[in-house]
C-alpha cells in the first residue's frame, strides 16, 4: 500500500527519476520476482509457445521444415474449409454438443438430490460414511471405470447380460452398439460425479439462514415442505450459476472418457471434435488439419466461457 502511494506521488517528477524510482520499487520485491521465474518459464514454454504454435493451422505444416519455415496455406483458411466441407464436420459437432447436453441434463439433478438427502440425515456417522463412499468414483481413472464397465456390461462376460440371458432376453451390446453407447457415457459420468458434485451444493445448503427453518417449524411445516420452500430456493442461485458455467464448456464432451470407451462400431455416435483431432493429428500425422479443427474448438470455447462467465457475474457475482 505504501509503495503505491509513493508511486503516484512521483507523477510530476522527470521521467528518468521516475523510472529509477520504479526500478527501485521493483528491486524491493526482487525475491518475489525470482520466485516467479520458474513458473513463468513453464507457462511461457508449455502454454504460450503452443498458443503461438496454432499458426500451423494456417500453414501447410512440414515436419522437416518446422513451424516457422513451413509454407503458408493458400488460401489461409484452406484447412478450415476442408474440414467444414467434409461430411464428418457436422457429425462431430453434433456428437460433441449432444453428448455434452445429455450429460448436463441427466447429470445436474442427481448431485442436488444427494445433497438434499445428506442434509436431512440426522445420524452423523451414517452421513459421513455415505459421503465418503460416494466420493470414491471421482478418484478412479477412466481406465478403471472402463474395466468396471466391461465386467458389468460387456456382451459375453458382463454380469448384467448374464442376468438378461437368464431372464430369457437377448444380450445387449452396451459397449459396442450405437443405440446404447451414449447412455453408457452419460451413466458412467453421472456415477463418477454424483458424490463429488454434491459437495458444492452441501456447502451452499450450509449457508442458508437457520432461522428460516425455525420459523417454518413453528408454523408446522413438514420436512418435505421445508426442502421445497426453503432449501431449494436457498441454493437456486448456485444451481443456476453452475449450469451457466457448465454451458460455457459445452464443447468439452469428455475427451478422456470417450477416447477410452469408444471403438470403431460406435464412431457415428461417439466421435467428438477432441477425439477426431487426436486421431487426425497424432495417428494420421495431419498436423495442420488437426490444429485447424483444434483452434476452431478453442476459439468457440473461449467465447462460450467468456460469455457464460459474464452471464454468471450478472446473475449473482460472488456467492461465497
Amino acid at each position: 500500500m505504501k509503495a503505491h502511494a509513493s508511486e503516484t506521488g512521483t507523477a510530476r517528477m522527470p521521467s528518468a527519476e521516475r523510472i529509477a524510482r520504479h526500478v527501485r520499487l521493483l528491486w524491493k520485491f526482487k525475491a518475489l520476482y525470482v520466485m516467479l521465474i520458474p513458473g513463468m518459464i513453464y507457462y511461457l514454454i508449455y502454454k504460450y509457445v503452443p498458443m503461438y504454435g496454432v499458426i500451423i493451422a494456417f500453414k501447410d505444416f512440414d515436419m522437416l521444415e518446422g513451424i516457422l519455415r513451413s509454407d503458408w496455406a493458400d488460401p489461409w483458411f484452406k484447412h478450415f474449409q476442408r474440414f467444414f466441407d467434409s461430411p464428418y464436420a457436422l457429425e462431430l459437432i453434433r456428437n460433441t454438443i449432444l453428448i455434452s447436453l445429455y450429460k448436463l441434463v441427466f447429470g445436474t439433478a442427481p448431485p442436488i438430490m444427494l445433497a438434499l438427502v445428506l442434509n436431512e440425515c440426522r445420524v452423523r456417522w451414517y452421513k459421513s460414511l455415505v459421503q465418503t463412499l460416494s466420493y470414491m468414483p471421482h478418484f478412479l481413472s477412466w481406465i478403471i471405470i472402463y474395466g468396471i464397465a466391461i465386467i458389468l456390461l460387456s456382451q459375453d462376460s458382463g454380469i448384467i447380460n448374464r442376468w438378461i440371458v437368464e431372464a430369457g432376453g437377448k444380450p445387449i451390446a452396451f459397449l459396442t452398439s450405437t443405440d446404447w453407447f451414449r447412455s453408457v457415457l452419460v451413466g458412467t459420468e453421472v456415477w463418477q460425479n454424483l458424490g463429488w458434485g454434491a459437495i458444492i451444493y452441501l456447502a451452499a445448503i450450509a449457508g442458508i439462514d437457520p432461522t428460516l427453518y425455525e420459523a417454518a417449524r413453528v408454523d408446522g411445516a413438514s420436512r418435505m415442505r421445508m426442502i421445497w420452500h426453503i432449501t431449494l430456493p436457498g441454493i437456486r442461485h448456485v444451481i443456476i450459476l453452475l449450469l451457466i458455467l457448465r454451458l460455457g464448456h459445452i464443447l468439452d464432451a469428455g475427451f478422456e472418457q470417450i477416447y477410452i470407451f469408444y471403438n470403431i462400431h460406435v464412431y457415428p455416435v461417439a466421435d467428438i471434435l477432441d477425439t477426431w483431432v487426436f486421431r487426425t493429428g497424432l495417428e494420421q500425422l495431419n498436423f495442420s488439419l488437426a490444429s485447424a479443427v483444434g483452434l476452431f474448438k478453442s476459439a468457440i470455447g473461449l467465447l462460450l466461457v467468456l460469455g457464460s462467465n459474464a452471464l454468471a457475474k450478472r446473475w449473482g457475482q460472488n456467492i461465497w
Binding site: Y135, I143, I148, I151, I200, S222, G294, S298
Partner: protein, 286 residues
C-alpha cells in the same frame, strides 16, 4: 402424534436413498475385487455371481505381475507420482506465493498470464510439437514437465495464502526474514491443509496418468500403469488378432484394475476433510 409417524417415514426414505447411493458407489468395485480373487474356473461355472467367493486365490495377481510389464509400469507410476507431485507442489507454491502478495507491482499481469491459460490453449498438436522440440519425447519427463503447474491449483494455494493474517508477515519481515524463509518456514507449515488438497489433486492426476503417455511415449518400458492396464483390458476385444499374445482372463483383467485403483482408494478417505474445502476454494474461480 401424526408428526412422529410422518417423520419416521421420512427418515426411512432418506436412509434408504443413502444406502442405495453408498452401495452404488462401492459395489461395482467390490465385484471387481471379488472376481479378481476367485479361481477363473469358478467364475465361469457360477455364471459370474461371485460377490462372495467361496474359495479364493491370488493366482491372477501373481500371473499379471509375472507376465505383463505390470511391475515395470508400477515403478514408473510410483516415480511420476512421487517425484512429479513434489515438483508440482514446489513450482505451484513458488508461483502462488508472489501472486498472493497484493503489494507486488504488476501482480495482475502475472495473474492474467496464469488465468488466461485456463480459458484458451494452443491445443493438442502445438503442445505435442513443443514437447518434441524440448526433447522430452520418449523420456519419463514427458509425463512430468508439460503438466508441471495447474492454474487451478495455483489459484487454490493463492487464495489460501491470502487468508493468512497479514501481521504474521509484518513481524517476520521486521525480524529480517527473507521472502524465501517466510515462504518455507511460515507460509508452508501454516498452509498444510491446502497443500494436502493440491497434493492429492496432483498425485491422483499422476497416478491416473494416461494421455501424456500415449501421446509422448513409444518405449514400452516407460509406460505407466494405466496404459498397461488398458492394454490388458483391450486384449480380449482384439484377442483374435494375435494368437501369440497371452490372452488375459477376466480374473487377470480385474486383478490389474485392482492394482491400478487400490492405492488411491486407500489414501483418499484420510484426506477427505481437507479436499472438500479445497474443492470449494477452487470452484469459486471455476
Amino acid at each position: 402424534m401424526v408428526r412422529g409417524w410422518q417423520d419416521r417415514l421420512f427418515n426411512t426414505g432418506i436412509y434408504a436413498i443413502m444406502a442405495v447411493v453408498g452401495l452404488a458407489a462401492v459395489v461395482p468395485m467390490l465385484y471387481v475385487a471379488a472376481v479378481s480373487v476367485t479361481p477363473y474356473a469358478q467364475v465361469l461355472k457360477n455364471g459370474g455371481y461371485v460377490l462372495f467367493p467361496s474359495e479364493w486365490t491370488l493366482a491372477a495377481y501373481r500371473k499379471i505381475f509375472g507376465t505383463a510389464n505390470l511391475l515395470q509400469s508400477f515403478k514408473v507410476t510410483l516415480f511420476i507420482t512421487t517425484v512429479g507431485t513434489a515438483i508440482n507442489l514446489l513450482l505451484t507454491a513458488l508461483t502462488a506465493y508472489p501472486l498472493s502478495r497484493k503489494a507486488l507491482p504488476h501482480r495482475n499481469v502475472f495473474l492474467f498470464l496464469v488465468v488466461f491459460t485456463m480459458l484458451f490453449g494452443g491445443g493438442l498438436i502445438p503442445t505435442y510439437l513443443v514437447v518434441k522440440a524440448t526433447g522430452l519425447l520418449n523420456t519419463i519427463w514427458a509425463l512430468i514437465v508439460p503438466t508441471a503447474i495447474s492454474s487451478f491449483n495455483v489459484l487454490i494455494l493463492k487464495s489460501f495464502f491470502e487468508q493468512l493474517p497479514e501481521e504474521l508477515f509484518e513481524s517476520a519481515r521486521m525480524d529480517g526474514a527473507s521472502e524465501a524463509l517466510l515462504l518455507f518456514r511460515i507460509v508452508v507449515p501454516l498452509s498444510m491443509p491446502a497443500f494436502v488438497t493440491v497434493g492429492l489433486f496432483y498425485g491422483v492426476g499422476h497416478w491416473n496418468q494416461f494421455f501424456a503417455a500415449i501421446m509422448y511415449l513409444t518405449d514400452r518400458s516407460l509406460l505407466p500403469l494405466q496404459v498397461v492396464v488398458r492394454d490388458l483390458l483391450m486384449q480380449t476385444i482384439e484377442q483374435a488378432e494375435n494368437p501369440e499374445n497371452m490372452v488375459p482372463t477376466v480374473t487377470m483383467q480385474m486383478a490389474a484394475v485392482m492394482v491400478a485403483s487400490l492405492p488411491v482408494i486407500i489414501v483418499y478417505p484420510f484426506l477427505q476433510k481437507h479436499f472438500t474445502k479445497g474443492m470449494l476454494l477452487g470452484s469459486i474461480k471455476g
